[in-house]
């Protein structure tokens, strides 16, 4: 299908706006990263080139933060994938109240991150009055203070609760795009439910899983509010991810140069994943046209 071109200049204002608000700051971040610049000590401002990066790599905090970022992001994505797939398979069944169940199940994703974190921190995980800790105590596993004892685990739990609906929605859309005849034909041939799942459903879902995983990695890498509210990145740096570390460097120590260098590393990381996402997207479009 060809559509005649219509006013290509109409896209110009949007493109210019986006370029000014996103690409200009990007270049400036790169520029700042070559400077030693602390807002509290403007007199020390100097161009230091790549030395800022060498300092970042030698910083004893840097590698533990990278490790925490990987553990956090990997765990959240893996857990939400398992729960999201289970829930999508469940919602793909017919049962009474299915629509209501779906509506309620997506709700955690709609809350603002600070509310989710405040809710978990106080109402669920408070060592004395929390609902979850009270339940653990009741079955003899308490008393516990999860946020102090397992800070990273608690943050993972909060984010998994928030992001499971995201996986669920995308995988459910994938399941619902699977032609019913294909399943019916396999059933007539005597395929059992697990065989169907393994050889028809999962292969069909691959593209949806790829999209959901890559997008979620990108989003989870940038999560900030949950950590800010629940643990403030602590104790120490036990629950500090890359995003939170940059925030600390920039807005607690006002170390603009150092924060920008770490920022550039975060951008490179995100672009790597973005590249994979674009490839999946392009392949999908090529398949749709074929």
């Amino acid at each position: 299908m060809t559509r005649p071109a219509r006013g290509p200049w109409l896209a110009l204002p949007a493109v210019i706006y986006l370029a000014v608000l996103t690409q200009v700051p990007l270049v400036l971040t790169l520029y700042y990263s070559f400077r030693r610049w602390n807002l509290l000590r403007p007199e020390t401002d100097a161009f230091i080139g790549l030395r800022g990066y060498a300092d970042v790599l030698r910083d004893p905090m840097f590698w533990p933060v990278i490790r925490t970022t990987m553990v956090l992001t990997g765990s959240v994505v893996a857990l939400t994938l398992v729960f999201g797939l289970a829930l999508a398979l469940l919602l793909n069944q017919e049962f009474r109240g299915r629509h209501l169940a779906r509506t309620l199940l997506i709700t955690p994703f709609l809350l603002m991150p600070t509310v989710s974190a405040v809710l978990w921190k106080n109402v669920l995980l408070d060592p004395t009055f929390g609902l979850a800790t009270a339940a653990l105590t009741a079955i003899g596993l308490g008393p516990v203070d999860p946020l102090t004892r397992y800070p990273l685990g608690s943050v993972i739990a909060i984010m998994t609760w928030e992001w499971t609906p995201f996986m669920m929605l995308i995988l459910l859309a994938g399941l619902q795009s699977l032609p019913e005849e294909q399943l019916e034909a396999a059933r007539i041939d005597g395929a059992r439910p697990l065989t169907l799942l393994r050889f028809i459903v999962l292969p069909h879902l691959t593209r949806y899983i790829e999209i959901a995983v890559l997008l979620e990695v990108l989003f989870v890498l940038s999560l900030f509010g949950e950590i800010f509210v629940a643990t403030s990145g602590g104790p120490g740096i036990a629950s500090t991810n890359l995003t939170y570390q940059i925030y600390r460097e920039a807005f607690e120590r006002w170390n603009i140069g150092r924060a920008s260098a770490v920022g550039v590393i975060a951008i490179l990381l995100a672009n790597l994943i973005l590249l994979l996402f674009v490839r999946v997207l392009r392949r999908g479009r090529a398949e749709a046209l074929a």
Partner: protein, 273 residues
């Protein structure tokens, strides 16, 4: 195929457990907002209690809640409006002018949307300080517009592509200019798509925290920033906190329920429908 017998029971039990895990805490928060502070802290937790509005009164009236709500509504509405003003013509031109260049522009839009906020916050902070935009509604509107613009472009483009081509062509045969065509044909036929796109913009802007927290102090602070102030739990009032939290999320939860069919398309930039 309808599952029967045992399977049906298993499905129902699993669904109930999942709903309890996902929605239970939120429901509990809602219930707690109607408790007295004494009931809110009762051990074991109380399911039956005498409801009171004192928590809601404390949360909404004796606090900065309404001021924060005001700036949230302003920032959310103006940024959505601005993203639409810039995004509608862009989506229209990208939908009706396919080709290599349009493809590149679209992919570039995604890349700006997926950019980590930490990669741009520092220069924006420095510039905002110089331009006196820190702690202003205008400052947040500028940022949220950029945040939602790629979403608007992708969503609206995918809705425009769904329109029947004949109608658009008929308008052209009658000599309509691009702007007339957009105004009298394309937009009126895409109203449901426009509405759900607006709801998604609302959700993202309303819930945003990172920029709001770092670029505001008090005057332009949003609800999401206000709610974060409940992080210090010592000597806290849970009924009041729950009421504030419930009030802050209620409009957006309703918007999300209404727009849930389009949520996937928006979240995946149109890659999944």
């Amino acid at each position: 195929m309808r599952p029967r017998g045992l399977t049906r029971v298993a499905v129902a039990v699993a669904a109930l457990a999942a709903v309890l895990a996902a929605f239970g805490p939120i429901l509990w928060m809602g219930l707690t907002s109607f408790k007295s502070e004494a009931d809110a802290f009762a051990i074991p937790p109380r399911v039956l209690f005498e409801p009171t509005l004192s928590g809601w009164h404390a949360a909404l009236v004796e606090s900065p809640f309404l001021a924060r709500l005001g700036s949230t509504v302003m920032v959310t509405s103006f940024s959505t409006l601005a993203a639409f003003l810039l995004g509608i013509p862009a989506a229209y031109s990208l939908a009706f002018a396919p080709g290599k260049r349009a493809d590149l522009v679209l992919l570039w839009c995604i890349s700006t949307r997926m950019l980590p906020p930490v990669g741009v916050i520092i220069p924006l902070y420095v510039l905002f300080r110089r331009l006196a935009l820190i702690d202003t509604t205008l400052g947040l509107v500028l940022i949220f517009t950029a945040m939602n613009l790629p979403l608007v472009i992708w969503m609206l483009r995918s809705f425009f592509l769904d329109l029947p081509l004949e109608v658009v062509e008929a308008a052209r045969l009658e000599g309509a200019t691009p702007l007339q065509e957009l105004r009298h044909v394309v937009l009126p036929m895409s109203l449901p798509g426009l509405a759900s796109t607006a709801l998604l913009c609302f959700i993202f802007a309303w819930n945003e925290f990172f920029f709001s927290y770092n670029l505001t102090v008090s005057r332009a602070a949003t609800l999401s920033v206000y709610l974060a102030s409940f992080k210090t739990s010592e000597g806290l009032f849970w009924a009041r906190m729950s009421a504030a939290a419930t009030a802050a999320v209620l409009p957006i939860v309703v918007a999300g329920w209404v727009a849930q069919r389009q949520l996937v398309r928006g979240l995946t930039m149109g890659a999944v429908r």
